[in-house]
Symmetry: C2
């Protein structure tokens, strides 16, 4: 129930050549408070409800609890969520012994592409593909819960 | 997924004589916003996560989505909840063709006793036991999500 992950910007679309899956994801938040986000996700015809706690200082580890729900339930719950539903296309991209999840955001977050890798422990080694850019682990602007409120296309650079 | 229920104050403890079950309940809220409450409940060794939407004007019908979770998961999630965990003892009390749930609140809500009956439709008839007092259906002060923030012992009469 502790999630350890690192998050990166993406510098080219070479990851698409190596992807083993591609899925459209819709997600909303029943609570986007950093202390206790409650996320509803619809991926194809299946859904999840996910509760996350606060990150540690580095932003690498975070309490996470997730439960599968039906696609119909996810659709009903999405209608209850706060404004700012996120839509994105997720690619699963193997690299070394890990699978990176690369999210291309749409709508108000169009143009943003983020890659995440989940690790078994904080110090676990992992391969860095060429298309990985700057690490943004722990930067709250890139939390999906924040992107739903402060979308990428509205950031001042 | 639409819940229809009516809620009453309780005027005597005669309901205890007719109760068929008695359980301690602990519950907290991952979100107490009236538009989308997210409740975590621990009852004995089992748990639930429940999402409720806004009530209709009368407060009788309300979107409700609920999923069973393990007691261990409920305990972990309760630690993430907003301040103001609710503890109460619930009695199930048959009356006519329905079962009333009578909640005796503890802690900051000590002294408050509420009975609820769930109906199949808005106009379904039900028996009113003698110990039922004033109806408080739709009064937001008696929502558990509100009782966790504005507990009964702090109300000004």
């Amino acid at each position: 129930m502790i999630e350890i992950e690192r998050k990166f910007l993406v510098t080219s679309d070479v990851y698409k050549q190596h992807a083993i899956s591609k899925n459209k994801i819709y997600q909303g938040f029943l609570n986007s408070h950093p202390l206790r986000t409650v996320r509803v996700r619809l991926k194809g015809e299946s859904g999840t409800i996910t509760v996350k706690g606060l990150s540690d200082k580095e932003g690498t580890t975070r309490f996470e609890w997730e439960k599968e729900i039906t696609g119909a339930d996810a659709k009903a719950l999405l209608q209850l969520c706060e404004d700012g539903m996120i839509s994105k296309t997720r690619y699963e991209v193997p690299a070394g012994r890990h699978i990176f999840e690369v999210d291309e955001f749409h709508g108000a977050n169009e143009g943003l592409v983020i890659a995440e890798v989940e690790l078994g422990s904080k110090n676990e080694a992992y391969s860095k593909p060429d298309w990985l850019g700057k690490e943004v682990t722990g930067d709250p602007r890139y939390y999906n819960s924040q992107l739903s409120k402060q979308p990428f296309t509205k950031w001042k650079s």
